[in-house]
Subunit: 230 residues, 2 copies
Amino acid sequence: MISSTQNERIKEYAKLNEKKYRDETNLFIIEGIHLVEEAKKYGIIKEILTTNPNIEGTLVSVEVMKKITNQKSVVEVCAICEKLNKKEITNKVLILDNIQDPGNIGTLIRTAVSFNFNTIVMENCADIYSSKVIRATQGAIFKLNIINAKIDTFISSLDGYKIYGTSLKNGVPLKEIKKSDKLAIILGNEGNGVRDEILDMTDKNIFIEIENMESLNVGIAGGIIMYELK
Amino acid sequence: MISSTQNERIKEYAKLNEKKYRDETNLFIIEGIHLVEEAKKYGIIKEILTTNPNIEGTLVSVEVMKKITNQKSVVEVCAICEKLNKKEITNKVLILDNIQDPGNIGTLIRTAVSFNFNTIVMENCADIYSSKVIRATQGAIFKLNIINAKIDTFISSLDGYKIYGTSLKNGVPLKEIKKSDKLAIILGNEGNGVRDEILDMTDKNIFIEIENMESLNVGIAGGIIMYELK
């Protein structure tokens, strides 16, 4: 059993609470038995750590678990995982431009998987591998092809895809957009939307007709568009 | 200028951070100039309090403002408002059964207003008049008829409305539901959904077809249904 928070491996794992180290090592932490069981199916687990001798994995003390998970409440099990590295671009792609709220990212990913948008491209967004986002996605993250890329470069590389931005001004109502086999939808920052230079590169920009309010929450807008065009 | 946090009126206002006192007094607090300006249009403001002499209202110290708003970061202006008491049941009604997350309640209300579901009926939900929910709704709350009621009693009182529950089992796919002039949609608890005894009282129960995941976030599900049936 590892009981010292000064153990070198434990100190390395605890650093994974910071995006910088997750980026450097290509590793991330998941918490809770549900996510660990799910991750097993994808063969991405490097090490399971647990405070419960009945769970398969490296036994650690409560203090060590708290240090790794950076939580006040103790989780019984966590795992160090390797980031997935799929290559295939699926027919339905969701592109996120500068979305900052981890809750929005988590909800969008859960919705994307539900509607088979299984490639997520992100530029300048809240980190998808933070434990908060991973909890919010309820395991959806393991099913995805996740790409961090410049959106303009990525869009230019797509072949045979309809590319739809979202915009409050000069948009085409969602009801007028036809489904297509291969499509990419771009959602933008909570306050500012998709950048103009990206909107200029799309086939069309979508608008959801609403009344009374200026805009929908980005997670809701994304959910409605993916439902309609899936 | 009121500078003492022991001022009797200030002490009364600070209590409004608790649901119990909001229920007793029919008052609630809003924060920030945007919401205050919006609330003015509806004539519901009892008193504006501000730390800025250039804003119309009762001048208070930073300490007093912190006490009233229960926040570490100081807002420049807040207002004590009376709960709205509209009576008309609009043609589109959103019914929430035991929804506990303030973020979900806030997002659902913003979406409801956007799609003209201007009556919200709630039983056993997170309090809509908490400052967190009010911030999340971005002023949508002022446009609504908000009713706290037993859902079974409320449904029984509706005349000429189609009543749709939401259910993961035995539901009718959303695409098969026809629009109607008068309708009420019922959304349920994040973990358990709408109670069975309520589902038994509806005309139909709606199901959104998804893949890979067990369910959508309740805010997303509600957004998609309201968009489709508005």
